[in-house]
Symmetry: C2
Subunit: 336 residues, 2 copies
């Protein structure tokens, strides 16, 4: 402790330093440490930095007050890996196998039998209807709290087939940097995912720093009731909202209640969210992560069943959306 | 600028002062200005302060990290006046009268005719079904953004019948102080209202400092579509969620995704929310605003159609809920 603090800081000193501290993150970003170290210099990196500079420049023509700085992120394929299968689907299949011994009647259902045997062709033969039945059987009949515990435990132990790493390690380092850049500049960041809201909540806070109330997603119906004299909410095997495609603007309006000024996606499932965001008045940012890096991740777009990217890609130039090349724009893909 | 800042503050100085600033709000609340000046000393005021002290005391047995400090507030009758009629219902009836000239066919419907004539008995004769039709006709067919503009314009000009003040001035000063106390102590505050989510969002940010994404409420269905080459969401005259009674825990789980540790209500419509909150493990606070002040506001409880309070009142002692007497516990009711 030096002498000058012996009597404690004065009121004026505090005010001066409060100001210094308040602007410090912005200063650091603008003048000091690079906020986007995993982004190679180029149009996409510059688009990000220019957008943030424009909407935070007080008195500037494109200034947006902090309350309006809402940014939305798709999850699968935008923040973490979605190939060769959505992680939540891998979880569902694992869980069906785990629960199979307690559910001998499942063996009479060809889709369940295929899932238990690991026969993906047989699962696919059941179509969307079959998948939804598997998803319901694997994930419902519990409370949101119980389900999130189950999902979190699975995520803590499961490993992906390509890198043998936990799924929560297969997040895109450059996108973590975007989340950090936006937050350091007064943005509120939301996930708007086609995945189940409670599945994403099971890891979003620890993995992305996004708390449960800032996760929008698809959902099973919740039924209120009582158990042992306490209120319990039960997840029912009935989907009551699909937060994908045209559902994403609905989820945003319902949950966030304000049109975002920045949206990040990677597939046609994000097309409506990108439009809803960038059709608003004033400066906007729409950004698409394009998977063109077979070496470091995967390469897929218009012919993929998962994360199909065609219409959004075709319309990107006319709509002013930035298409990120994972291969060219990112110097690294995953955290160390 | 004194000499000691000539070179700018050093890293260590900043760290020391950052710590000082971080604890400053708590210090001010504990040692300086009274955070609850409109609360008379007594068990309710002490319950509030004790709760906040317990859950924020780092290392203490009841400490809750900031992320878990979620507090939920009912709106009608808890944050603002709900008698003699919910403000949103007054808005609906005003709007029906405003729109009547453009809708001559409404005159053929007895409930609409009664509403246009200001015949409340005739409106009541239509029952809940009639009210819902009026509510739908008055409030839908527009986008969430358009509707919020309409509601905000109405709130800016409408005056209540008893005090001749804007409805947004008829908020409870002691509850604004509770919102402030909780926020100063790292809480995230949400409204969980039986009212329409977009109606409450039209004033919650300016009136309570609660942004749209922290308002949970009842909702009309939203349909995505296109108009003039832009995505539009249309509010349909079909209610898709009722955030009242047993619906409140559902709304909380769906939207917030975390069980609150404090809940504030005033009627049996808040009973389930109070239970859901206080049945969680660890220190909890359930508080009921009881309207027993006919002189300064209104006096009503178990016999009231609006804001009926019976079951929650009867079970309050056994459940440890604090029942606030507006008359005795509040030194003032409204802001100056």
């Amino acid at each position: 402790m030096t002498d000058r603090f012996a009597g404690g800081p004065g009121r004026r000193d505090l005010a001066i330093l409060a100001t210094a501290l308040a602007v410090a993150p912005g200063l650091a970003a603008a003048q000091g440490a690079d906020p986007l170290p995993s982004w190679r210099d180029g149009p996409r990196r510059r688009a990000l930095l220019d957008f943030v500079a424009a909407v935070t420049r007080e008195g500037g023509p494109e200034f947006v007050p902090p309350a309006g700085r809402v940014a939305v992120f798709d999850n699968d394929g935008t923040l973490w890996v979605e190939q060769p299968m959505y992680t939540q689907m891998i979880f569902v299949l694992d869980r069906i196998r785990t629960l199979a011994p307690q559910n001998p009647d499942w063996q009479r259902d060809p889709v369940f039998r295929a899932a238990i045997a690991g026969d993906m062709r047989g699962v696919a033969a059941g179509g969307t209807e079959g998948l939804m039945r598997l998803a319901g059987a694997a994930q419902t009949g519990n409370t949101p709290e119980e389900f999130q515990r189950i999902a979190a435990e699975w995520l803590a132990t499961a490993r992906d087939g390509k890198w043998n790493r936990p799924y929560t390690a297969l997040v895109y380092q450059p996108m973590l940097e975007v989340l950090g850049l936006l937050r350091a500049n007064g943005f509120t960041t939301f996930i708007v995912s086609g995945g189940g809201v409670e599945f994403v909540r099971a890891f979003a806070e620890e993995t992305y720093g996004i708390p449960p109330q800032r996760v929008v997603g698809s959902s099973f119906a919740l039924t209120p009731g009582e158990r042992d004299g306490r209120i319990v909410l039960t997840r029912e095997p009935r989907i009551d909202f699909i937060d994908d495609g045209p559902g994403k603007p609905v989820g945003i309006a319902r949950h966030i209640g304000r049109r975002p000024i920045a949206a990040f996606g990677n597939s046609d499932g994000d097309y409506h969210m990108l439009r809803y965001t960038t059709e608003g008045a004033g400066r906007r940012l729409g950004m698409i992560v394009r998977h063109d890096d077979a070496e470091r991740e995967f390469a897929y777009d218009r012919d993929s069943h998962i994360g199909r990217l065609a219409r959004a890609l075709d319309e990107a130039p006319a709509r002013g959306w930035q298409v990120v090349s994972m291969r060219d724009d990112w110097s690294r893909v995953f955290p160390a």
